[in-house]
């Protein structure tokens, strides 16, 4: 019997050893490129194709890239300004996405809408259309409507996140007893009021997830922002700004990968912090996916 126990212990040690080994390898795999950018951002002579392994363990740390990035002025646009723009844009997108996703999820979950199933399926399938098919028509439509600006961008960013999130929201709201909002209605809130103040709060994990997805979607987008905002340097987002700043789209400038890397670090840190802080919320939100009926 003692042997049984020992055998169990040995198999446990083997299992954990393998686990840690895989985790370490994967952790290395995930972090290596990021570490690489991080180091590049502190280097003086920039190159994404590192020419020597010693770049990975630099002897000197230079802040020139950051200095240059934060102080440079590109025709009136500066990186801090673009970051600010990006944050505003991404923040608004997050808010609108959350509202849209939760309202839709609420409707799918709670309300009696004719042909709900067909509608939901339809909305879901419609998101299958690729960007290449929708980009030009969207641009033309938004140009006609004078929406080639932040409002237009927010409108264009929102549905992608929202439709996906609406399905998760639907599942989460399914799990919230309807008595919560009913009691609020009896206590004097309208249905929408109850939705805003009670359901949104109870579905916080999904709200957080949607907000993160919406935020990062807008924060990181390049293509759409590029085509919408290009003519106005001061309205650029950080991604566009960084591109030009680093000279990537500008053939005649010397490439400045260290600046590029510094920008990536500045842009990446808040986002990574956001992800790490809300990882538990995300996990909880996604776990409602598992709650689907068998």
């Amino acid at each position: 019997m003692i042997r049984v126990r020992k055998k169990y212990k040995i198999s446990k040690i083997i299992r954990l050893t393998i686990s840690y080994f895989i985790l370490l390898v994967m952790a290395f795999f995930s972090i290596f490129p990021l570490y690489y950018v991080f180091m590049t951002s502190f280097s003086n002579s920039p190159s994404l194709i590192s020419l020597s392994i010693s770049t990975l363990l630099p002897k000197h740390i230079y802040f020139t890239a950051y200095k240059e990035l934060l102080s440079a002025n590109l025709y009136g646009g500066t990186f801090p300004l673009w970051i600010r723009n990006s944050l505003i844009l991404a923040g608004s997108t997050a808010i609108i996405s959350v509202l849209l996703a939760l309202i839709t999820g609420y409707a799918l979950s709670r309300l009696n809408i004719p042909a709900k199933k067909i509608l939901a399926t339809f909305i879901y399938i419609v998101t299958f259309f690729p960007y290449t098919a929708t980009a030009v028509p969207l641009y033309l439509l938004f140009a006609k409507l004078h929406l080639l600006n932040y409002i237009g961008l927010i409108l264009a960013y929102t549905p992608g996140t929202s439709i996906f999130a609406a399905f998760i929201a639907k599942l989460s709201i399914d799990a919230i007893p309807s008595s919560y909002e009913e009691i609020a209605m009896v206590d004097g809130l309208s249905r929408f009021g109850a939705f805003l103040r009670i359901i949104m709060r109870l579905a916080l994990p999904v709200v957080a997830l949607t907000a993160i997805l919406g935020f990062s979607g807008a924060y990181l987008d390049f293509a759409l922002a590029y085509s919408f905002l290009l003519p106005n340097v001061k309205a650029w987002t950080a991604t566009i700004g960084l591109y030009y700043m680093a000279g990537l789209l500008n053939p005649a400038s010397a490439p400045a990968y260290n600046i590029f890397a510094a920008g990536a670090v500045i842009m990446g840190i808040p986002l990574m912090a956001l992800f790490i802080v809300s990882q538990r919320m995300m996990t909880r939100a996604y776990s409602s996916l598992a709650g689907v009926k068998q």
């Binding site: 007893p177 009691i183 209605m185 009896v186 206590d187 809130l189 309208s190 009670i198 709060r201």
Partner: protein, 367 residues
Amino acid sequence: MSYVKLEDIWKEYESKGKKVQVLRGLNLDIEKGEFVVILGPSGEGKTTILKIIAGLLRQDKGHVYLRGKIVDDLPPKDRNVAMVPQNYALYPFMSVYDNIAFPLKIAHVPKDEIKKKVEEVARMLRIDDLLDRKPSQLSGGQMQRVAIARALVKGADIILMDEPLSNLDAQVRVLAREELKQLQRSLKPTIIYVTHDQIEALSLASKVAILHEGVIQAYGDPMEIYREPNNAWVAKFLGNPPMNVLKGEIKDSSIIIGSTKIELPTKFRSIVKEGQKVLVGIRPEDLYLNDNGPLEGSVEMVEDLGPYSIIHVKIEDETIRVIEKSITRRERGEKVKLSIDTSKIVLFDQESEKNLMLLQSKVESNE
């Protein structure tokens, strides 16, 4: 004047293409200050009724009157009713204080007034030391009290309760029941209380309404209904263990049940006809183990429940439940004889399953 009135309420649900007619012309009249318990099996539409009263659902047909006025088109927030839902629905992200204060905050009551009111009601319900806690840190009984406090704090005089005790431990439930009763006695709100637990119904209600097949089957004093149920369904539904209902026939001023003959109590003489097929209802507590009793059978099972025991006695083909106070020591298989308190038996028509006595009095009052 009735304080809460439901008039010919119809309600149909549709789910997965199937229509379910839940309420079918339900009528209910509740006086001010009454404690009405709506009792019915699961899924019969009890919650539906409450939601219709609160305005959370709209009836398909019929009208709801509150305080004498028709409210069909008023949204929930304007009906001035309070509600304690099945699971209390305390907002998990708010403290007890905020939970109770929520209805007042919505109504934009000034802060210090909110504080005063919340503290008052909390003191009344003895939860004033819990105000800082989150609902997850409360026991079931405490949660119930908080939910009631939230219902009371608005000052609504109509309170709807949806099985508020169903999630509680047996022990706590007894206490909670007592508390609730005391509360109603002191504040005199009109309470409409929904449950499928008849102990609750019987012990709490000033009036009980028994819901079945979309209508109120019986409505009135609980003990009256207990003693004189409208029909065999109510008879079997009410009471735990349920009433024994046996098939019988009237012959020679007697009731013949199988091979047993019981004297027909005088009060039934004018009501039944010779040869009429009836259902005889006998409460388990009206049966006595008695060596001289007319019924004879063998003990099939004994359940000792402490204060009393339930003895299942097999008589011919049917099993009859008998209650004996305190602990019994009957053995399985033992032959026993039973006597009946015939003054308490109830007769139903075998076909319509209606209570013959009440049928008669109705006929009379109609004449």
